[in-house]
Amino acid sequence: MSKRIWQHPEVPAGETTVSWRSLGQLEDTPEFRSWMEREFPQGVAEMDNEEDAETSRRSFLKLMGASTALAGFGMVACRRPESYIVPYNKAPEWIIPGKATYYASSRPTASGAVPLVVTTFEGRPTKVAPNTLHPDMSGTDAFTQASILDLYSPSRSRKVLKQGKPSSRAEFEAALAALAADKAAKVGFVFGEDVSPTRSRLAKELAAKFTDAKFYSYEALSGAKIFGDGVRAVADFSKADRVVAIDCDFASLDFQGSTIPFFERRKPEGKDYSKKADGASMNRLYAVESAFSLTGGMADHRLRVAPSQLLGIAAYIGSALGVSQAAGVTATTDEKTISWLKPLVEDLQAAKGKSVVVAGSRLPAAIQTLVAAINEKLGNVGEGKPLRYVRTENEGFGDIAKLKADLDGATVDTVILLTPANPILDAPADLKISDSFAKAKTVIHFGERTDATALAATWHVPSSHYLESWSDARTHNGVYTVVQPMILPLYSDCASEVEILSALLTDDGKLVTGEGADGKPSPAYDAVRKTFEAIGGKGSEPWKKLLRDGFHAGTSFETVAATLATGALTAPAAAVEGTYEIVFATDASVYDGRWIDNGWLQEAPDPISKLCWDNAALIAPQTAKDMGLYNEIVELEKVSALGKRTNVGEDGEGEHRTGPMIKITVNGASLEIPVMISFGQAEKTIVLPLGYGQGFNDEDKFDRGAKNTGTVGQVGVNSGFNAYPLRTAAASYFVTGAAVEKTGKRYPLAVIQEHHAMYGRALAREVSTQTDEAKGDFAEQLEGVKLQGNDGHAPENISLYKQQNNKGVSHLWDELHQWGMSIDLSSCMGCNACLIACQAENNIPIVGKEQVARGREMHWIRMDRYYAIDQHNDFDPGNPSFVPQPVACVQCESAPCETVCPVNATVHSEDGLNVMAYNRCIGTRYCANNCPYKARRFNFFDYNKRNPLVPHNLYKGPFGEKQVGTAPHLQRNPNVSVRMRGVMEKCTYCVQRLKDAKIRQKRGQKQEALLAGKASPDSQVTTHTLRIPVDSVKVACQEACPAGGIEFGNLKDGDKSVMVRAKGVDRNYDLLNYIGTKPRTSYLARVKNPNDKMPDAAFVGKATIHMH
């Protein structure tokens, strides 16, 4: 076999991350060479660094994929690992077993690609992190973090299906070749909403080849395109002093532009805490919304209204600002709403050109048009302004209604579905798209899951994961970003979008996937490289740079002007008296349903309702009272005399919380779904998260749909209720006139957090920039942060232990590194990205719905969220403020857990970590009882060994089904132990990363000394040389945070470290300070920046109490 060479750039000079290879070059002496020949014959080939063979690294990765699968990757468990370690017989380039290699890539999404750096171990991608070099870096959301699990998902589609039955790839290839040969084919291509230059280029070539070809784009939750073909709006929140969100969750689920600049401006001290706190430097966010969103939770002023009122509100703002489009629309006449809107309009006028109004992308076109006109009027639009319109390459694509019309009219008879959407499930119900598909001759579906559309299609071809395929994408601002594979497709039937399109472009239509013949690169590689040559220039240098950096600097979408509709706006449905309005919400766990088989996302609690594994109809407390359900729901909190819940779950297995089920009828369809109370959402409004209820099996006792259809895997089966049938094309976001009736049934719900108030405890603290009579002005309030709650009355904590020896040197104190963390509640919105990043980094298992209901979830970060309402709030007492608070182990210096462990399994490290020796732990659980933060997690079962998703499997003990050796194990981080049952675990500040950084630092010093030609005894080792560079190591949660809310660093770095500066600001406080645990993680109080002219200004920023 010829030598393998990476399609990757060289290691830059001075880079210390690659060790022996550089050392080898350094010591390239004859002696070394002969030794090397003797010891590593393959390594010698390595050293003849000539481009003698042009092969892709992907063929190597194929080799890797196979050997990793065989090796089972010796999970570092507490018991002796059973593994078969096969040494390389050809040493692959750059691979050191157990050491991570990092590559730039990106995840394409409808709102723009997410630039990533992917961690791989021996060719296995295990973790994604945002690419901080990228100009459009915006952290990662929970979906991106969880996307890596899909690569290894057991429910991933692996085989080609024909009419829903297993078929062979050869058979499909024949069908594809026939299609490629037929230049008159009436073929329709349905893409996703993401932008890919290569795909667009291929689409143009396809249009040239197939004269009758049609192109569409479709995703379930994309809204009206009001700016014209291919034009979209991108917000730059760094330039916006005032932000108004009209039912737009731009911070989390409805991306409008990078969130990081927005959150940076939530910190009064500036993004790196280098300035003095200044309320005026903050932006101000107004939110008008129906459901509670994370954006609404961040808002300085929040108004809750039923969705039918949104147009009137937009019209009021529009007409107050003199927008012409508002003329024909009835503005709201509600006095209270107007009193809230008036000062808002004044504020907007005062911030002309420095404000932005964003409307939810799924809102009716009328509202979006009005909002766009408001922005135009305010002068917020244009290059260098908070909002700009850009032209994407997704031009000339029809929508799903067009597809239907073309199918019905036989203009198209072959459909190739390349969209990540699942139209059979998620297309508007009144389109009856399945009927139209039935009319087509051939429907070819590409997807990662055998979902409803896959089974209904003529052909289903498993698609490669984005970490398995070559492609490219544009970020929201249009920066050209590469999607490069980390591994060859795990399953040989998988094909990628670009590969399919490339195959159709060839004359013989041969489908080449993964790797070409004789180790040649995939056709997708050539296609992407060709696209890039037009953008970045020919030659290998720009290409290598692209692969190394992940993007091509200086590329952007073109800024264009948009012409807004000027005619009369079609008003959406108005409210109907005596009925309810329904919001079809984007779900934080399954999005539009595509993540239904992702266990991490399913188990991540909904940020608002804290519900896992299901969806439920969310209603406000008053609405629950109106429906006569309030007592029935609240009663569940009670515990009967035997300690049992009054309402035991349907499976009778324990402390499930159950919700009463209601039947909602609207648009001629009805749905039975359990209800949950959700505070702060609009009255008379039911929020129905979409995407659930995709498949059921015999365990389903609620008759939610056809059973055993095979449309979902083990994770998503029996999960939730399908709200799509209620949704029509005209009412795709909300609908009015829904009728509700009680059913008398109850459904078990796994809710992670059951108590919603802080009960007068100053846990998550909040202050306001506005002067308050009792609390003083902003500066005084900041000073008071540390005194909130009981803390002002707690005596100083004096330790009886001597902290220093006679010379004043601290005991067990590492002079190099002392780790610490700060969490800024002012920018934390509570979105779960950190929680899932932690899960990916630290091999945290999922435990399944039943275990979550018992309170046994394993997340090392618990995302607490509290509601608080000012008791004097007479403006809207049903609209509480929302404060999230991520709680993980805070690494107490004086840790209660450590003193109580009888076997010394949890002890303190010299660099200030509270470390956990899994092998020593016997599981008395005393540490966890004594942890005031309840940050420890116990392995009640062998979650890693026994599949928690098989019903009752965990309870079968040795007779339960094992899951050792299945694909998800390939995702594991080999540097983190996989814990067995019976041991305690918790956040370790990613100790594996810290150790790695320290080792690299030491090795770098050694290398420097060698380069300087010094013998090792002569090289000086000082504190300076051994301390890792300031803020150079990042922990998983910090890295992922799309809000820049977490800072981590070395306390010994002093003010050079952002974390230390953050800890130095006034609003820094220790959670539960009075116990004297001296936590290393501290919190920064949330700052609200209300407008003092607003009627509710006095009630903002008061989520916590002062006890003076």
Binding site: Y759, L763, R856, D864, I922, N929, F940, F941
Partner: protein
């Protein structure tokens, strides 16, 4: 029953003799040494009554299923088969541990403390109480041993030198527990066995040759009843009593440290050690009554375990119950007086929170029900005595439940609050330990002398070597005995006539 008789004051060489109440007899009906030996030995020499079998067979079955099966399931499957969660990490396991350990307390108190203070009434009940201690500690030990996640690694708790050179954490109250409980068990077992040696010899001497005689022979360690043997025996017994007395205080103090040394509001209080010790004695005496009163009826031991004994135990229950009640109230006061929000909330939630019913059960069973013992007729009515004893058993269980479960589910951060309910595995393990306790006790009744034959005889007046020496013995022991026997004789004659 003999009633107290007032004696006229007289003058002796020690000075004026003050009027005294005659002590109640500890053994009624003037029973002779021979009768005592016969009666106690008959319990294990005769065939067991039907009731014994009716109690023993189900108990043994429950023990086998409850303990054997549920532990097998627990160890093979994981602690998850119990009802705990990542909020409430302890539930019935530690509740039951503390409950059983508490019961084990009265044994040592009766055998050691009452021995040192020359409380002769202990002799009728000490053997059974000690047996109860042994069995209760055995039951207790199951819970901490098996509640751990990896029971096969539990040997990490023992200070055995190992290759990793890791020692135990001597700061941990759990480790203190290991030492305290194992010491307590060892000392109690030795004390119990040593005290039984003369009696085992008695049984041996009454046996026909055979396996039985051989076994009793082995365990009686060659006891011949010689003076030298008695002299050594009494010294050893006295020393052991002195050695185990501090254990009465230490064991439950250490158990209370499991809670008191933590930072958990509701646990972190200095009142715990005395309060736990008082509670343990309280619960222990209730359990002695619970098992001795039926045994007394079953084997006709009325003359040996008299109403005087029961009365004494009831009074101790009244005293310790009142101490416990005081502790409960003091806890509330301290929480209020501390001004610490979390402390106040912890107690408010105990009373009004999801486990209010457990708090109510604890209060009414432990504080109110013993107050009945202020009335003499309550102490004399066995139904009332048994009722109160049962109440105390239940109340003491709830006390531990309230402390453990009621506290853990509602700690500092409301975000992690969650209630706990046990699974069937925990419930069956607890019932199993009750079965185990009962069956062990029934076996004890079947094979070992349930009353201390040797010592109970010392309480007879005739055991006093000087009892017929009128000069030395101001009470004229021989006269008193003669008068008493005459009285009994004439009463018997009257009864016979009637």
């Amino acid at each position: 029953m003999a009633s107290a008789t007032e004696h006229a004051p007289s003058t002796t060489r020690q000075g004026p003799k003050l009027p005294v109440l005659e002590r109640e007899k500890l053994i009624l009906n003037g029973r002779s040494y021979h009768w005592i030996t016969d009666r106690i030995c008959s319990v294990l020499e005769n065939r067991q009554p039907l009731l014994w079998w009716l109690l023993f067979l189900p108990s043994a079955l429950i023990a086998a299923i409850g303990v054997g099966l549920s532990l097998t399931y627990l160890v093979s499957t994981g602690v998850g088969v119990w009802g705990m969660s990542n909020r409430t990490f302890w539930g019935w396991d530690i509740t039951n541990f503390v409950f059983w350990i508490g019961i084990g307390h009265a044994g040592t108190l009766i055998s050691a403390v009452l021995f040192l203070t020359r409380q002769n009434w202990r002799t009728s009940i000490n053997r059974a109480a000690e047996a109860m201690t042994i069995f209760a500690v055995m039951c207790a030990g199951i819970f901490p041993a098996f509640h751990v996640g990896r029971v096969w690694m539990a040997w990490f708790l023992a200070p055995i030198p190992n290759s990793n050179a890791i020692w135990q954490n001597f700061k941990s109250p759990l480790l203190w527990d290991v030492f305290a409980v194992s010491t307590y068990f060892t000392i109690s077992l030795i004390f119990w066995y040593l005290g039984m040696v003369p009696d085992l010899a008695t049984i041996r001497d009454r046996c026909k040759p055979g396996l039985r005689k051989m076994l009793y022979g082995i365990f009686s360690l060659g006891w011949r009843g010689g003076n030298r043997q008695w002299s050594h025996y009494e010294m050893a017994y006295l020393l052991l009593a002195a050695l185990s007395t501090p254990l009465v205080l230490s064991v439950h103090s250490v158990v209370s440290f499991d809670f008191a040394t933590s930072v958990v509001p509701g646990w972190h209080t200095t009142i715990f050690p005395p309060y736990f010790v008082a509670g343990a004695i309280f619960g222990g005496f209730a359990m002695v009554l619970t098992i001795m009163v039926p045994a007394r009826q079953l084997y006709g031991l009325h003359d040996l375990i008299t109403m005087k004994h029961i009365d004494n135990m009831a009074k101790i229950i009244l005293l310790t119950g009142t101490i416990v009640g005081y502790a409960y109230l003091m806890e509330l006061f301290v929480a209020y007086y501390s001004g610490a929000l979390y402390e106040m909330e912890a107690f408010r939630i105990r009373i009004t929170g999801p486990y209010w019913w457990a708090y109510l059960a604890m209060m009414s069973c432990n504080v109110l029900s013993p107050q009945l013992f202020w009335w003499k007729w309550c102490r004399e009515n066995l139904w009332v005595v048994m009722g109160v004893a049962m109440c105390v058993n239940i109340g003491m269980w709830f006390e531990r439940f309230v402390i453990i479960v009621g506290t853990l589910g509602r700690m500092f951060l409301p975000g992690d609050w969650k209630t706990y309910s046990p699974s069937w595995v925990e419930v069956s393990l607890f019932i199993g330990t009750i079965g185990m306790f009962l069956s062990l006790f029934l076996l004890f009744l079947r094979f070992l002398p349930c009353i201390n034959i040797a010592e109970v005889k010392w309480t007879l007046l005739e055991s006093d070597p000087h009892f017929d020496d009128k000069h030395d013995h101001p009470d004229h022991g021989a006269d008193v005995v003669a008068a008493y026997q005459h009285e009994l004789h004439s009463k018997g004659a009257v009864e016979a006539k009637a």
